[in-house]
């Protein structure tokens, strides 16, 4: 298994691509939810597959984990995991604009995850001249064993997990959510190539 390391410039470039993606995604989200989303600097750390379980173990106090696969051109594909903290999970329906009783908690969290994942990745992809398709989002029970079982059963071997910690503070409904993008090796190399192409321009 190859070790994946980004040098300082690559990390900085990736961070900026993600900043722009988050900025536009939250703009769409804010318009859709009719509210203002306060953005903090997202923390981005690449973690290799061995480390991921350690970092996930700390995070898996989560109330819910939703997984959604994504795939674009040039072998860029992977899976997004969205993790929510239990204290943030109430009043989601309010936030999403559904009437009480219209939607179960499961459905709300899947809906929100799908919006966060697809709006973010759509912008990210367009910056690197790519386009994404998505599989149906699935709710994994927020249970350590279930999530690691799921990761083991994946259709691809991922080498890198990009952990993007996004804190959305929506007026009146502050909540945090962690997005983890699991990316297989060929996709990493491709993203790296794209980053290097961007960096070469300077």
């Amino acid at each position: 298994m190859s070790t994946f390391e980004l040098n300082e410039d690559q990390q900085d470039c990736l961070q900026e691509l993600i900043n722009v993606a988050m900025g536009q995604a939250s703009d769409q989200l804010a318009r859709y939810l009719d509210t203002f989303v306060y953005l903090k600097v997202p923390s981005i750390e690449p973690v290799n597959s061995e480390q991921l379980f350690e970092t996930l173990n700390q995070d898996l106090k989560a109330a819910a984990v939703v997984s959604q696969g994504f795939f674009g051109y040039e072998g860029i594909r992977g899976e997004a995991l969205l993790m929510y903290q239990p204290q943030d999970s109430h009043r989601l329906a309010d936030l999403l604009g559904y009437e009480a009783g219209e939607m179960t908690f499961d459905e709300q969290i899947i809906d929100l995850s799908s919006i966060l994942t697809t709006t973010f990745l759509n912008v990210f992809a367009s910056q690197i001249d790519n386009q994404m398709s998505y599989s149906a989002p699935r709710l994994l029970s927020a249970n350590n064993a279930k999530v690691s079982e799921h990761l083991n059963q994946q259709s691809f071997n991922w080498d890198l997990a990009l952990k993007v910690k996004i804190s959305y503070q929506v007026t009146d409904y502050s909540f945090n959510c962690d997005m983890v993008l699991l990316i297989p090796e060929e996709a990493i190399n491709n993203i790296k190539a794209v980053i290097d192409r961007i960096l070469e321009d300077f």
């Binding site: 769409q28 219209e102 899947i110 709006t119 699935r138």
Partner: protein
């Protein structure tokens, strides 16, 4: 030419395709939907989707589509959250128990010059998946249960019972709660087996387990420890309370008669009782203490209850 080919293919797909405009009017649907909805084209095309499918949750549906239009991104609705949106017949009416087709629906934005003018809804038939998943869940539940249960007596099996004891033991130590344990052995069971055969012996085990189970409270944990040995965990119970339960069980077993092949079998039991004490560091200590008391009951002539405390003072 290509258009014709596309229409041809879309009409042979085993997936429903439905296209609506921003006012929820149906622009196009494919043969799959025509067949499964059993409605004809002229009652559908140009009509509102809510007229054609009055079963749709209108507000929910409008909000869902507005997210597709506004965010220009696809949205999903899976069978695990909503079994179906559209009331469609499915192709497994006999082998499955659901009335309507289970569905995975995908809502795709169709952009014209940067604006979402139409929404394409893909409807996949997942009735089979849904059916097998529910069968699998049922089987898994049964399996989980059978992993914990002794097949003959329906009491917990030894492995599961010991796991329960380990949990109760550490809980009682942590919160300084009472915890009592009964170890019960049927008297002269080998003789009984020799007299009535193994089938007779099995019947005694079954009937005795039933009797014991009836006398227990919610929260008590009853297991088959070995051949003719049973064990009961009594959480939040002191020595006096445990002795009472043990005595009731002993009397009930002694009074009970079992009909087997026109013969009457009666049986008695010896019971050892122990409670957690501060010297016990492992749950196995509690078992040893109750075992000692059981040995004492046997030695004192059987069909009686002995307390571990008395054993210790002897």
């Amino acid at each position: 030419m290509l258009d014709e080919l596309c229409i041809n293919i879309s009409n042979r797909l085993n997936t429903g395709i439905l296209i609506v405009d921003r006012h929820y009017n149906i622009i196009m649907w494919n043969r799959f939907l025509e067949v499964h909805a059993n409605k004809s084209d002229n009652k559908v095309i140009g009509k509102s989707i809510f007229t054609v499918f009055p079963e749709l949750p209108k507000k929910w549906f409008e909000r869902k589509l507005s997210s597709v239009v506004q965010l220009k991104t696809q949205s999903f609705c899976g069978w695990e959250q909503r079994h179906h949106l559209f009331e469609l017949s499915h192709s497994r009416p006999i082998t499955t128990d659901s009335h309507f087709m289970a569905q995975n629906c995908t809502f795709l934005p169709v952009e014209v010059e940067g604006e979402v003018e139409r929404i394409c809804i893909l409807i996949e038939d997942v009735t089979d998946v849904c059916h097998y998943q529910s069968q699998l869940n049922k089987a898994l539940q049964e399996l989980a249960l059978s992993n914990r249960i002794d097949g003959l007596t329906q009491a917990f099996n030894r492995k599961h019972w010991e796991e329960c004891l380990a949990k109760e033991f550490s809980r009682a130590r942590r919160y300084k709660h009472d915890l009592a344990l009964l170890m019960l052995d049927l008297d002269h069971f080998k003789l009984l087996n020799d007299t009535f055969g193994h089938q007779g012996g099995d019947l005694v085990l079954i009937e005795t387990a039933k009797k014991i189970d009836k006398l227990l409270r919610m929260g008590d944990l009853f297991g088959r420890y070995g051949g003719e040995e049973f064990a009961v965990i009594l959480p939040n119970t002191d020595l006096e309370g445990a002795e009472e339960v043990a005595e009731r069980i002993r009397q009930s077993i002694a009074k009970n008669t079992i009909d087997y092949n026109q013969k009457i079998i009666s049986v008695t039991a010896s019971i050892g009782v122990a409670i957690i004490d501060s010297n016990d560091t492992r749950y196995e200590d509690l078992i040893s203490n109750a075992d000692l008391a059981l040995y004492q009951a046997k030695a004192a002539g059987r069909n009686r209850v002995c307390l571990a405390k008395e054993v210790a003072t002897i």
